[in-house]
Symmetry: C2
Subunit: 494 residues, 2 copies
């Protein structure tokens, strides 16, 4: 009896052990499958890509998840309380900006940003790039204007040289720059490691004594964005793209840099003030806000991770974090979506208030300066006001042009706008004293600039002609460019 | 053999069990002791306190930990990067403020805040309360000025009535208000529950339809502070202390309230602008910042918990949270002390920049307005500038007077200062146009107000006489008050 029991127990133990081992095997297989799924992406690439492959569509086969989400950028605008998904005509919403940019191409057309997928077509279609080959002899932009528009740029820089790239006219490269911001702008095509493909960023940090080619992965998750989302200018006759960070990253540091080299992007047609046009100092303002200071990268909020099967990947549908609060803010913050969204809007509303005041005062300053010139003011009399206008507009533009600054660094932006507003009203005070000396003591009668059309007419733009030329350019020149690109194998699709 | 072993094993088991039970007993006793320690504080009070006991020292016997830490407030200033522990002469650091308050007692003396323990002596000693019984017939302040200075106030209100309290002169109560901000200001003396002892706060919330006597414990940990650290004014001839919150808590809401009742605290002697003096809207600005919005109470940061033996109690040494970063900020934030302190200073520096500009522009506006009056400007001409000065100074004071606002709500304070700065320069612009119409087109020559003494002389203050009278008041009147208080049993010590 004792022996039979022992044998029966032994068999039971054996069967149980077998079942457990079988289940462990299943689990192990599942884990390995997940690993294999990840590994296969990198080890079993279906297509071998060229070092400077610029045709985004070719990456789809190897990296379908990233490609699919990148493709969705055609749907993304940057939502705020004020604008939805579609690009909005900012000049129509804020006609004062036409006055601020009088004599500069931004006064012709300026829209809210859209997704990466539209970078190229919007650059070609906007009035700012003009209508070369239509309006003969008039070529408003250098090739440098293409620099951020897609992976054809590093390909071309690699083949013809960096300075040679910048040194051309915009229209010279119309059939070469044909793929919008995409894969190889930020990735090494062989390893898919993050890479800096634009030399200006590396050069700027090198001048500050920092070699960013040795950055950590987390740093790279912001630096790849900083290739384009920064303040920059076109240096010298060769229009060499340069980031003005030699003295630091604040609005005052950069202003000092520009002042020392006596730089201006344009002279305002009304006030004759020499103006610095801020580009989009997104990286700089992110650094000044709490998220940047706590090491939260651009990608953490704008390209949150997604898990799909065994794969965790970055969402390449770069957009406002408010579109995915559950995957962005709520990774760290426990508040409700509604609370977090309202927190963002509250900050934006406060900034918007100062921005609107500043725009209005600065537009008046430009117009009143023109009035003083017309009354016979001389350069000595006008110099203090023109300096204040330059400083004011630099602050306004730095705060406004950077995408998302009002949330990235709310207090800093509020500080900057406060300084800009102070200087705009001080410019008006200075002009008022000049006018008094010239015997004019009444208020300056301001023109009706209550709509974009009225403001553009006031600054002397012939919008009908500009629109007509651009339409002709779109109809005739762009198709030629694309045809040539197709013939040269620059595009994936035919 | 089998039987003997069993018996031995049984004894071993028995002894082990005894030891374990003994140790459990010790542990249980220790836990109970800790509970007993807490319970004993409330159940075995050594002294039975009167309902409106105002002598703080009497609480020491029952609540030694709270008393001891409260007593330490005699050491606390509110540290910023700019001032250390001692009270600093703000007018000496910022002589422009003398101009802003020309014609008002704040131009005589204004210091950085000190701990609760000094509330009363500082109120008696400051030039603002004057020298009643010395400068005969000159009584600058009503009894309402005592309202926040200590627990004698609720005691008196309880015995003579609220309106009757406010209705007297300041000097009438000199021998009654003799214990500084202390225990029964915030605690029910029987239960030690938090209590609102000042009627103005309850009345203000009641007018907004909220009964704060039903607040949660966590709400009370801010509301007891809000009894005093708020914006208020003295209403009507009876100087009834009133919080102007009927329209809301923002700087614009409160301004609208004051404008509708055409209220002014004083008329600036230079510009003749009717000015609202902001008190210290700490509670309002805390509500507008992220800590307030996330439910962090005043006490969480200014009175952090301490564990001592079995007792966890609130540190009654109310002071800057920067003095105890490990017990305050680091309860939630994982960054180093150095990083957290620098984060606070960064915010304060940005605000300080706008504050300094605003003070400078506003002082000029007051002086230039006086110049315009002197040149013969009339009231119609000056009205727009005076309105702008009123609005500007209200914003300046709201942002500056509130302790800690630059950290409590950095962006909101920056927004408020920006609006104030805009209005100060616009006031100057308006005055400049008035002057031009009057035929004066040069710059107004500004007086030398580079020191407190120079600024006070410029606005016509006879500081020697004021200081002399105050010294006499301190030497003769205050000792009489204290003698009488002692005789009447108002003080614990003799």
């Amino acid at each position: 009896m004792k022996k039979r029991l022992k044998s029966w127990q032994g068999w039971l133990l054996f069967v149980c052990a077998m079942i457990v081992i079988f289940l462990l095997g299943l689990l192990s297989s599942s884990i390995n499958q997940r690993h294999a799924e990840v590994a296969s992406i990198y080890n079993n690439k279906k297509v071998d890509l060229k070092k400077q492959e610029s045709r985004n569509e070719l990456f789809n086969v190897n990296y379908p998840r990233e490609y699919e989400t990148w493709d969705a950028t055609k749907e993304s605008g940057f939502n705020t309380e004020y604008n939805g998904n579609d690009a909005k005509d900012v000049l129509a919403m804020r006609p004062n900006m036409v006055i601020l940019w009088a004599g500069y191409s931004f006064s012709k057309e300026y829209n809210t940003p859209r997704g990466h997928m539209h970078a190229l077509e919007d650059n070609r279609a906007i009035l700012r790039t003009g209508a070369p080959n239509v309006t003969l002899g008039k070529e408003p932009m250098p090739a440098t204007c293409w620099t951020c528009k897609g992976p054809d740029v590093p390909r071309l820089m690699d083949s013809i040289g960096i300075a040679q790239f910048y040194g051309q006219k915009w229209s010279d490269l119309g059939s070469e720059i044909v793929n919008p911001v995409g894969c190889s702008d930020c990735h090494d095509t062989k390893t898919m490691d993050l890479r800096i493909s634009r030399p200006a960023l590396v050069e700027a940090f090198a001048r500050r004594g920092k070699d960013i080619t040795k950055s950590s992965f987390q740093e790279m998750r912001s630096l790849v964005c900083a290739q384009c989302h920064v303040e920059y200018y076109f240096k010298g006759k060769g229009n060499y793209l340069t980031l003005p960070w030699d003295k630091g990253f604040t609005v005052e540091d950069i202003e000092k840099y520009y002042d020392e080299i006596d730089f201006a992007d344009f002279t305002n047609k009304l006030s004759r003030a020499r103006i610095i046009k801020a580009q989009h100092p997104g990286y700089e303002t992110w650094k000044m806000g709490i998220h940047g200071q706590r090491g939260v990268s651009c990608a953490d909020c704008h390209m949150p991770y997604i898990s799909e099967g065994g794969v965790k990947f970055s969402d390449h549908h770069v957009q406002s974090p408010l579109a995915n609060i559950n995957r962005t803010c709520q990774t760290c913050h426990r508040e409700s979506e509604e609370t977090l969204r309202e927190d963002v809007y509250k900050r934006q509303r406060k900034v918007d208030e100062a921005r609107t005041s500043l725009e209005s005062e600065l537009a008046k300053a430009h117009i009143e300066a023109k009035f003083a010139w017309d009354k016979g003011a001389n350069e000595n009399q006008m110099a203090p006001a023109l300096k204040l206008i330059r400083q004011s507009q630099w602050r306004w533009d730095f705060a406004v042009a950077s995408h998302g600054a009002s949330f990235h660094a709310p207090q800093e932006i509020q500080r900057i706008l406060s300084g800009g507003l102070e200087r705009a009203v001080k410019a008006r005070l200075s002009i008022s004293k000049v006018l008094a000396k010239l015997g004019y003591t009444d208020d300056v009668i301001l023109p009706d600039i209550s709509s974009k059309a009225k403001a553009q007419k006031y600054i002397g733009l012939d919008m009908d002609q500009l629109n007509k030329d651009k339409a002709e350019f779109k109809k005739t020149v762009i198709p030629q460019w694309l045809k040539k690109a197709r013939e040269n194998g620059r595009l994936a699709k035919n």
